[in-house]
């Protein structure tokens, strides 16, 4: 009997080990993890190497590190990010690779890991990427906490890191200077708050309640709201936080009901944002609810369902690319990305995938010009990303601004009948 028990226990533990291992499984081959769709073939190799000389010989592959939260609470961000990078890597390698400054074609050897939405794991992964995989540049960090956690590691190792998370602390050090080795592609939270402020002004709202997730992302977004409130003369009558992964917000919402706030501004991702919105509606609030860009993902609409109706939030333009005016400088780039993503995965890309697109393309461009030299890649990113049309915005990176996009890269979106609806700035007063 003892033997039987031992067998059982071993079996259970084995199963547990296997299951937990699934989470950390590392893939060096860039296979899209999402649907079983066939690898995305691009129609006709886009731009074969210039001049019609015989194809250049193949050089050593360039090792690029990537880590995304493809499991855990941030996975709704991490999955499209990883899908995008996997797709782009496939495209580049399918075309023979990158034509480096040495005149050889280099495949991209992408080393990808899953940080399981855990900042501690992210640091371990980045150490591994630098020390074992010898990555020349690193992209990733789906959640702000993970991105912030690895700043020290990449700085000490002098490897450029392009984050796909939005907290301003990722690029801005405590003294206000920019972290030398770190860049990021999502917009800052500050312009997001500016757009929210524009909308509030259009409605004559002066008193607001601010409720955010108690992590780097939420705190940064709340700080941005405070700054904007101070500049524009709004009064924050109530401010509070909830923990990541919380699903019960009755305590906070109760407190807000006791105030005379005219709008609730929420700083969250879909995991908490959707249940929060549902409970907000259930409790019968009559004030509008405005989220920030953290919820710009289909999963928010899917989970919040009816409660999502009328929710407003500022976000990058990708979400509403088809509704943008043709004069928009990003429209063509956005369209191309959307079409490629749909061809590969059979569904529309999310803004988060767009952040990864920007990060990947910047690294790719840097590699084309300077080759696998970490310091040179960093310098290239800081000086040569000028009027660079990406998915998250038109980038102008400088030594004083390692993000490089502002309020113009954002639009206000309203959730209407389960779809995203672009709100033109001239219509703010009539929305919702």
């Amino acid at each position: 009997m003892k033997l039987k028990l031992n067998i059982l226990l071993t079996g259970v533990m084995l199963a547990a080990l296997i299951l937990s291992a699934c989470g950390t499984a590392t893939t060096s081959a860039p296979l899209p993890t999402e649907p079983p769709a066939a690898p995305p073939p691009t129609e006709a190799p886009a731009a074969p190497p210039p001049t019609a000389v015989p194809a250049p010989a193949e050089g050593e592959p360039y090792v690029v590190g990537a880590f995304f939260s493809t499991t855990g609470p941030v996975s709704s961000l991490g999955e499209p990010e990883w899908g995008t990078v996997a797709m782009l890597t496939e495209h580049v390698n399918g075309d023979g690779g990158i034509l480096g400054p040495d005149g050889l074609m280099h495949k991209i050897d992408l080393r990808k890991y899953d940080d399981q939405s855990d900042a501690t794991k992210a640091v371990e992964i980045v150490k591994k990427l630098i020390e074992e995989d010898k990555a020349v540049a690193i992209i990733g960090g789906s959640g702000s906490p993970a991105s912030i956690a690895v700043i020290e590691t990449v700085t000490n190792a002098e490897v450029p890191f392009i984050s796909v998370a939005s907290s301003s602390v990722i690029v801005t050090a405590a003294d206000g200077s920019q972290n030398h080795w770190v860049f990021k592609t999502p917009q800052q939270n500050y312009p997001v708050a500016q757009v929210q402020a524009d909308w509030m002004k259009a409605h004559g709202i002066t008193k607001l309640a601010s409720l955010g997730v108690n992590n780097a992302f939420g705190k940064d977004s709340m700080a941005a709201m405070q700054r904007v409130a101070q500049e524009e003369g709004f009064e924050i009558v109530w401010e509070g936080t909830f923990e990541p992964r919380d699903t019960d917000f009755s305590a906070q919402l109760t407190a807000i009901q006791g105030t005379d706030a005219e709008v609730l501004i929420v700083h969250a991702t879909p995991g908490e944002g959707a249940p929060l919105t549902v409970q907000f509606r259930d409790m019968g609030f009559e004030i509008p609810i405005v989220h920030n860009h953290g919820i710009g993902n289909q999963s928010f609409i899917n989970t919040a369902a009816d409660a999502a109706q009328g929710v407003l939030f500022p976000i990058g333009k990708l979400l509403v690319v088809d509704q943008l005016p043709d004069s928009d400088p990003q429209k063509a780039t956005l369209k191309t990305y959307q079409d490629e993503f749909i061809a590969a995965f059979g569904k529309k890309p999310s803004t988060f995938g767009g952040h990864a697109w920007d990060a990947f393309m910047m690294v790719k461009e840097a590699l084309e010009h300077v080759g696998p030299d970490s310091a040179a890649i960093r310098d290239y990113l800081e000086t040569n990303i000028v009027n660079w049309v990406g998915i998250s915005g038109v980038f102008n990176v400088t030594a004083d601004d390692h993000t490089g996009i502002g309020k113009e890269s954002l639009v206000l979106v309203e959730i209407d009948e389960g779809t995203w609806a672009y709100v033109d700035p001239s219509n703010y007063a009539d929305t919702p």
Partner: protein, 310 residues
């Protein structure tokens, strides 16, 4: 909203959440009384029950889009199927995990339930992924207002079902033959066997009953707080705290413990900071264990804890 109204709101929210802890704690107590095992996969029953109900009630794709399920049956039917599915899981767990190990020490069997909970959690992760899911409330409509506190219709369902279940359980244990046999197995397994009670079958029934209780808790709370694959661990820990608060063996104590825990959490979150919610729950456990090892409702000799291998 005045302070008293806020207080009323915190207590209502606390009772809603506490009802779930109570249901889970009841499951703990039932299994513990009959088999002497503390079943740490109790929280997983709630999660699996809820996910089965979710799958039946609305469009869901499983295994990363490999299977699309479009049943969209009415929520009450889905809830029943969810409970039934969890009961099946409970029975399987007992048959495949606990019964073969019946000669092993209680501690080993407890470890087996921990292993089972990890495995079940992994299974749910593989099938449903990491997204939070929700089912519509059992009845639609505007929330009620009592003493300035908002009570959603689903909260009424949660509290009402908890009361119904507690009363039904009481009647079951007190007046049915199986219920009496269960109590007999709990009181003295040896004597119960001599009286012709199949204690092994009683263990099976206890697991089935607990799984059903857990699943019910998981399902009724899903419209309020959503369900994610990893909720089980926290639910189990909170249910465990409620059970200890209630004195480990008392079903009545488990219910009171669960409700008290929910209210403490809600007040801590509302009046101090939501960050301290869990800290308070476990601080309560710590204090109860320190002050009175047998829990509040059973002045313990510590024997019960020893039996559990704690």
């Amino acid at each position: 909203m005045t302070f008293t109204e806020q207080l009323a709101q915190f207590i209502v929210s606390g009772i809603t959440q506490g009802s779930i802890y109570a249901l889970i704690a009841l499951g703990f107590v039932t299994i513990y009384n009959v088999t002497g095992i503390i079943n740490f996969s109790q929280g997983e029953f709630a999660v699996i029950g809820a996910f089965i109900a979710i799958t039946v009630a609305q469009k869901v794709n499983l295994f990363r889009g490999q299977f699309d399920v479009e049943l969209e049956w009415p929520v009450p039917v889905a809830a029943l199927i969810g409970v039934g599915g969890a009961v099946l899981v409970g029975v399987l767990l007992y048959r495949l995990g606990i019964q073969p190990a019946r000669h092993a020490s209680t501690l080993s069997q407890i470890v087996a339930t921990i292993g089972a909970s990890i495995a079940l959690r992994g299974l749910v992760l593989l099938a449903w992924g990491t997204d939070p899911y929700r089912i519509p409330p059992f009845t639609q409509g505007k929330p009620f207002k009592i003493l300035g506190a908002v009570i959603t219709r689903q909260s009424v369902w949660v509290m009402g079902l908890t009361v119904v279940v507690v009363v039904a359980l009481f009647l079951f244990f007190q007046y049915t033959l199986i219920g009496k046999a269960l109590r007999a197995s709990a009181a003295n397994p040896g004597a119960a066997r001599l009286m012709g009670i199949n204690t092994r079958r009683m263990g099976l029934i206890a697991f089935a009953l607990s799984a059903g209780l857990g699943a019910l808790g998981g399902i009724v709370i899903t419209p309020v707080t959503f369900m994610t694959y990893d909720r089980g661990l926290m639910l189990a820990l909170k249910g465990f705290v409620a059970m200890i608060m209630g004195g480990l063996t008392s079903p009545f104590g488990a219910v009171v413990g669960g409700l008290a825990l929910g209210i403490v959490e809600s007040l801590a979150a509302g009046l101090i900071s939501s960050g301290y919610k869990d800290a308070f729950a476990f601080a309560v456990l710590f204090v109860v264990l320190l002050v009175r090892l047998g829990g509040v409702f059973k002045r313990g000799s510590g024997e019960a804890l020893e039996r559990a291998g704690l």
